[in-house]
Amino acid sequence: MNTIAKNWIRVALAGTLLLTGQACSEEFLDKKPQGELITEDFFQSQEGALKATNAIYWQLRQWPTHIFAFLAVSSMTSDDAEKGSEPGDAVFLNEFDQFTVTATNFILNDFWSGQYLGIAKANQVIQRLPGIQMDETLKARLIAEAKVLRAYFYFNLVRTFGGVPKITAIQDDNAPAVPRASRQEIYQLIEQDLNDAIAVLPEKSAYAAEDMGRVTKGAAKGWLAKVAMYQGKWNDVLRLTDEIMKSGQYDLKTPYEVIFTEAGENTSESVFEVQNAALPQGGGGSQYAEVQSVRGQLGWGFNVPSEDLVKSYEAGDPRKAATIIERGERMPDGVVVLPNAVNPYYNQKAYVAQNETKSPNGLGDSNKNIRLLRYADIVLMNAEAANELGQSQQAVTSLNAVRARARGSNAAVLPDVKFTSKEQLKQAIWKERRSELAMEHDRFWDLVRQGRAGQVLRPLGKQFVEGKNEVMPIPQPQIDASGGVLTQNPGY
């Protein structure tokens, strides 16, 4: 072989090496995520369906959904509570206490995101589960659970902001921003979701023991009743609360002072509560208790009962002691609250006793279930609806049932209320709601619903302006993200 031929063979070899020696096939460039599930594989099985539903419940115990922002929006705004803690700590919360909140307050944006992140998780379930081949009964139940939770998140949004974007499907990233729907449209969506769920969901007692804590038919009806009450649909309120009261699932037998202890979790009093557990491996709790516990001793000391709340109780009402921690108080577990604690009062409904189970992460991962709907609330709604509809006998019966449980064994306090007029009874029921449901994230929205928020709050120095402060401003980052599609609420 001559040299030239040899050399050309080399060129040919070189070319071959260049073109085929490289792993240039598409297979070489296909690299799937490692150690991560991808959507198309995940939403194929019953297991995926269940996990995706569980993830909505996870959202319920998260910081933006139910901790700091929730306390600010639902509680510090009311006459029941103040910001608390050191005056200089988290001053941005004062804006909720004082009604000086502006659109740039990031807590407000947390609240918005905390609800919509839950809605997005619910939409995953509602939209994707129909395509999964699985047990149809379970599938229907999981979708119904997702609908109730979606309704709950929207209820929080509509109470806080008025009309908000109505998002009922998985939102495509490139989809244009959704403008605000009207308050009415959001209420319609909530009612639709809850009615759909009521038709499917089992009663509380029909769930297996390991599923305790999932939303029930009773919870869906309870929220639907509340949603109806906020819209003045008293016939619906009465019908739904009657159904719940006749369902045999709930009663008022749990002693009031037990309801908010670990022993009081998931009793016959409970209609829906966010399940938190102090697990040995941690990760099952929330910060709900820590942020409200005694400052400088147990926790951060935010969201403290106001002087006005303390004074509002009827003489001898045992619920006062069960709701309010005072300086130097000896708690049932033997802990003595600092006599010189920073704040005069703390929220006992968020108290975690020393003998309750503890997570390795401490109170920041505590077992305290967040009570979102109690049977007493159902009964009081029943009373108010009956009164509005002229059925004063039933109204008085329901109201006095709540008072009787609160009274306990001490017959000398909280006498039965007698009917003298519809207005008198309405005032009594409203007052009862405050005493019974104090510090339970109901009061501010209740005052707005009753149309007397300004009248009640202004004498306490809160700068509530009618026509403005019934709702919060739309968070600026949300307006920015929408490119101005979202409009601001009036007055902000």
């Binding site: 070489f28 991808i38 995706a52 005056p87 200089g88 921003a177 409009t487």
Partner: protein, 1002 residues
């Protein structure tokens, strides 16, 4: 190189022919190699006869009287001498003309004169003996267009490198190519192993790096051996590191007074009954800062013969940082070899191993010391750590004691083995296989401790993490190089490469691990019960691959008209199959005007070249698998009477299936000039880099964030480089200056033009907004319009809830009835009143580098400056409650002191809105480095068997001139996030390093 190889080939392949001529011998020297320079090609002009000098610089060949010998060696002036006798000694001069200078271009080298692109070259001597852990730190101010900013003044920390502006809101880090290996970071390299650094800046030079070229490429060439005498060099230096400047804070008495004032104003009780009795209290900076130390030792052996060359080095670097307990050390070994196996086949290897250990401290410790209560003692008389009763700021002394058992170790092997075959005269086939193997092993141990209810850890906690990174890169190239008819020179490169990278991480946590000694800090001794479910254990992995084809042609016509066309086609696993492949072409043209006939009589210029380039580059510095819609795990819920955890998971990150690489389209026009026989050189470049399809992390509302190809931006400006190098008798000097201007502007934001919020302060406030028509990460907030002096002023203002002493913000904008902005005041301060408040990107930056030598003395002085950028003083802007104050707080507004510039003191509230009150100018001029050395005369040393000895002193960052009130105006930003650049928070400052060193050559 080519000539030498050619000569050798002739020697090896042709039978030696001997004529009846006399033997001529002699020695070839240079100023640097007075003993003789090996490997110099010696050739009888006009013949094929020749030889090379031996290891002692001697040569011997047959030549006739009157023949002319040609001596040539790369980097030295080719010299011709007539044969006049039996001996002919020659001293060669170094070739200072830039025309002969060779620069590294991707996949090859090129004469600088032939380059059509914009490349900045930094030689070893420009950064020699600088007391830095990584070479990039020494590059500050050395190259036009290259802005290097220290992110954290911690030992071993990598600086932030930006070439020609900030190209993206994502990762703008350049690609590093070390002897052909692609790496993200060159901290594994001992800076002294570097021969040269070439920064590729324009499209013509970068397109050969295709989808990874958009942020610029830094080519690092390590030292290789030269055939000839073996040389052994030792260099060692040691010294101290110190904080340049400490922020002045209020002392205990002043602090207590201010805290009382705030407490009373808030309607509370004074916290300190007798502030006056507290005295100076604790200066926390004394407890966290120290004089650090630095030392480095290295030894290099280098040499070889015609067939084999070697360069072997070892080094040890050790630095104790300015923050207590921070430390970094590194051991490196390097073996670079070349082997000439036959006349036309060569092999070689570049292999580096490094081992590092980093003792980390929380970067927030400086902020803790800044915030900590000066009235408490670090450790009380009872031996317990003090804690504040007025604030929750951690005791920094306790942080140092408990939170600094954080050690990261790594071992890394980076290198390649290659073979090169020449055939058919003009072809060279090269195949190179490289690896980058990294093993990381870290331990974080947090003991159980209790200082106060806000500074405690109930159970000890051990975190162990082990990572294995594996990359291989196989590159095959074929080059063709031939000159046709002395007019057309053609150089063609064809290639195909593939790369595969994989990382595996295993991480686990246990509680209750005993901590009395390092010997027992192991997971197996801990408690499996108690570590959180999410952490226990965490096992992750990722992999990505690239396949690429290369093409480049360099054509020069009559050595005057230059053309470079390059193209790279890349496929990347980071993108879905339908948009996986991309082609990145570029073209560059050059005109060496100096070589035109009409320039013959123009004596002003000794060099004149015009060049221009245009092309497209890509950036794939984005996370893997973004196109997969993934499921987030660990979203567990609690159910059941036993309250058990049930697994939860769902899709949280929505899909971004259409995501593709970012594209940079760059135009460059450059003019190179030389005057006075190239003693004065100048280079001017205009560049315009346009980024499109920029990948953004976009807030799309409702708590969702996505990454999308959303935005476009440009960086454009001018680069000037001027050099003057001359000598007057024994006095040699060089002055090299460079200056760069940058105009950075976002031209488009996708997603409906939603501006990007960034620069979070950690207190819920964000400082930057990236919007169309503004620089990336521009500051955005309210304008301060003064201080409210009276309640009347407040009542009549746009801020009715303010109090006297509060900041008055400018009411600049409002909305009409239909919600449109009016541009007019509306009597209230709200989000619409926020405006742009400046850019964190310097508009102009420069370097001024000088060197002088006289007899044995040498001096190098480097200055650097940056102008037009702003800093957000995040330290002052974040308060949660009763943190310590800077002394300026003593000038606060009070009724007795109606300040018009400093507001009353509060622990939060409206005075802490993002505003220009917290913005300061970030311009500075810094003496970056001074080095003074003395080289002992060589005749003195020869008797000792030592070839050279040089001693020097060096000061890095000795002096800074700035108006900025913080520690240092060099603020890279948190985690080098482009949107928080210039936000001074949790930053450990740049420090001063003073060293003495010794270099000995044998």
């Amino acid at each position: 190189m080519g000539k030498r190889v050619f000569t050798l080939m002739i020697l090896l392949c042709l039978p030696m022919m001997v004529w009846a001529q006399q033997r001529v011998s002699g020695r070839v020297r240079t100023a640097d190699e007075p003993g003789g320079l090996p490997g110099v090609s010696v050739q009888v002009k006009g013949t094929t006869r020749g030889t090379t000098t031996d290891p002692s610089g001697q040569y011997s060949l047959e030549a006739a009287q009157g023949d002319v010998l040609v001596f040539s060696f790369i980097g030295l002036k080719t010299t011709e001498r007539p044969v006049t006798g039996a001996t002919l000694d020659v001293e060669l001069e170094s070739d200072v003309t830039t025309l002969q200078e060779v620069v590294a271009v991707g996949y090859g080298v090129q004469r600088k004169a032939d380059v059509t692109g914009s490349i900045s070259s930094i030689k070893a001597q420009d950064i020699a003996s600088r007391p830095v852990a990584t070479a990039t730190q020494a590059l500050q101010g050395k190259a036009a267009g290259v802005l290097i900013t220290t992110n954290q003044g911690l030992p071993g920390a990598a600086p932030n490198v930006r070439i020609r502006g900030v190209g993206t809101v994502g990762n703008s880090n350049p690609l590093y190519v070390v002897d052909g290996m692609f790496v993200d970071d060159i901290r594994f390299l001992n800076p002294a192993d570097i021969q040269s650094i070439d920064v590729l800046k324009d499209a013509s030079s970068l397109a050969i790096y295709g989808v990874r070229g958009a942020n610029g490429v830094i080519l690092v060439t390590t030292k290789s051996g030269k055939s000839g005498r073996t040389s052994i060099n030792y260099e060692g230096f040691g010294g101290i590191t110190q904080v340049n400047n400490r922020i002045k804070l209020t002392n205990a008495g002043e602090f207590a007074t201010l805290v009382n004032e705030v407490a009373v104003a808030e309607g509370g009780q004074a916290k300190f009954p007798t502030p006056g009795a507290l005295g100076a209290g604790t200066n926390w900076f004394d407890y966290i800062f120290r004089n650090g130390s630095i030392q480095n030792h290295q030894i290099t052996a280098s040499g070889g013969n015609e067939r084999v060359t070697f360069n072997v080095s070892g080094s040890y670097y050790d630095e104790k940082g300015i923050v207590e307990k921070s430390a970094y050390n590194r051991l490196t070994f390097r073996v670079n070899n070349t082997y000439k196996l036959t006349g036309n086949f060569r092999m070689g290897n570049n292999l580096a191993f490094s081992r590092t250990q980093s003792n980390n401290v929380p970067a927030s410790i400086v902020q803790s010391a800044y915030n900590a209560d000066p009235t408490i003692m670090p450790v009380g008389p009872d031996g317990k750590y003090g804690f504040s009763t007025v604030s929750t700021v951690a005791n920094p002394a306790a942080v140092l004691a408990y939170q600094t058992d954080d050690i990261a170790r790594s071992g890394q092997l980076v290198g390649n083995i290659y073979g090169e075959l020449d055939f058919l005269k003009s072809f060279t086939l090269r195949s190179s296989f490289g690896v980058d193997l990294g093993l990381t092993n870290s331990r974080i141990y947090l003991p159980q401790y209790f200082v106060s209810s806000s500074q405690k850890n109930d159970r000890s906690r051990l975190t162990r993490e082990i990572g294995l990174n594996t990359t291989w890169l196989w590159e095959n190239t074929l080059t063709f190089n031939r000159t046709f008819g002395d007019i057309h020179n053609v150089n063609v490169l064809l290639g195909a490469t593939s790369q595969s990278s994989r990382a595996d991480i295993l991480r686990a946590i246990r509680l209750d691990v005993p901590g009395y000694s390092d010997d027992v800090k192991f997971l197996s001794l801990g408690n499996a019960v108690g570590a959180t479910a999410e952490d226990n254990p965490d096992n992750r992995s990722y992999q990505f691959t690239y396949a690429s084809y290369l093409f480049r042609v360099n054509y020069s016509l009559m050595d005057k008209y230059l053309l470079t066309v390059s193209l790279r086609r890349d496929g990347s696993s980071r993108f879905p199959s339908e948009s996986r492949w991309a082609t990145f072409p570029a073209v560059g043209v050059g005109w060496r005007i100096i070589d035109e006939e009409f320039m013959k009589d123009v004596t002003l210029f000794s060099n004149l070249k015009l060049r221009a380039s245009y092309g497209k580059l890509g950036n794939t510095n984005i996370p893997n698998y973004l196109y997969y819609s993934r499921i987030s795990s660990g979203l567990d819920a609690v159910f059941g009477s036993g309250q058990n955890l049930q697994q939860g998971a769902t899709q949280v990150n929505t899909t971004t299936s259409s995501l593709i690489w970012e594209t940079v389209t760059q135009t460059d026009i450059g003019l190179e000039m030389g005057f006075l026989n190239n003693r004065l050189t100048a280079e001017v470049d205009y560049y315009n880099r346009k980024t499109s399809d920029m990948v953004l992390n976009v807030n799309i509302g409702n708590g969702r964030q996505i990454q999308a190809n959303a935005a476009s931006a440009y960086n454009r400006g001018l680069e000037f480089t001027v050099g003057w190098n001359d000598n007057v008798n024994d006095f040699k000097y060089g002055i090299n200056a460079n200056l760069t201007t940058v105009k950075n502007e976002v031209t488009n934001l996708g997603n409906g033009g939603i501006p990007i919020i960034g620069g979070g302060l950690g207190n819920g406030r964000t400082t930057t907004l990236t919007d169309v028509g503004r620089p990336i990460g521009a500051f955005f907030g309210y304008q301060m319009a003064g201080i409210f002096q009276t309640a009347d002023e407040v009542r009549n203002s746009a801020q009715p809830t303010a109090q006297p002493g509060d900041i008055r913000y400018a009411d600049l904008n409002g909305r009409d009835a239909s919600g449109n902005l009016t541009g007019r005041p509306d009597g209230k301060i709200d989000a619409d009143d926020r405006v742009f408040l400046g850019t964190p990107i310097p508009k102009v930056f420069w370097g001024f580098n000088t060197n002088f030598s006289w007899k044995g003395f040498d001096l190098a002085l480097d200055l650097q400056g940056s102008h037009g950028n702003k800093i957000y003083n995040g330290r002052r802007a974040v308060r949660f409650g009763n943190e310590n104050y800077e002394r300026i707080a003593l000038e606060r507004w009070t009724t007795q002191n109606p300040s018009t510039s400093q507001p009353r003191l509060t622990n939060g509230g409206q005075n802490f809105e993002v505003s220009d009150y917290f913005i300061e100018g970030g311009s500075f001029v810094r003496i970056r480095n001074i080095q003074l050395g003395y080289t002992l005369p060589s005749n003195l040393l020869r008797t000792l068997g030592v070839r050279s000895v040089r001693a020097y002193v060096n000061a890095l960052n000795p002096v800074t001139f700035t108006n900025y009130s913080g520690f240092s105006p060099e603020v890279g930003g948190r985690e080098s996030d482009a949107l928080s650049r210039g936000v001074d928070l949790d930053v450990v400052p740049v420090y001063r390093t003073t060293t003495v060193g010794l270099q000995i050559g044998f």
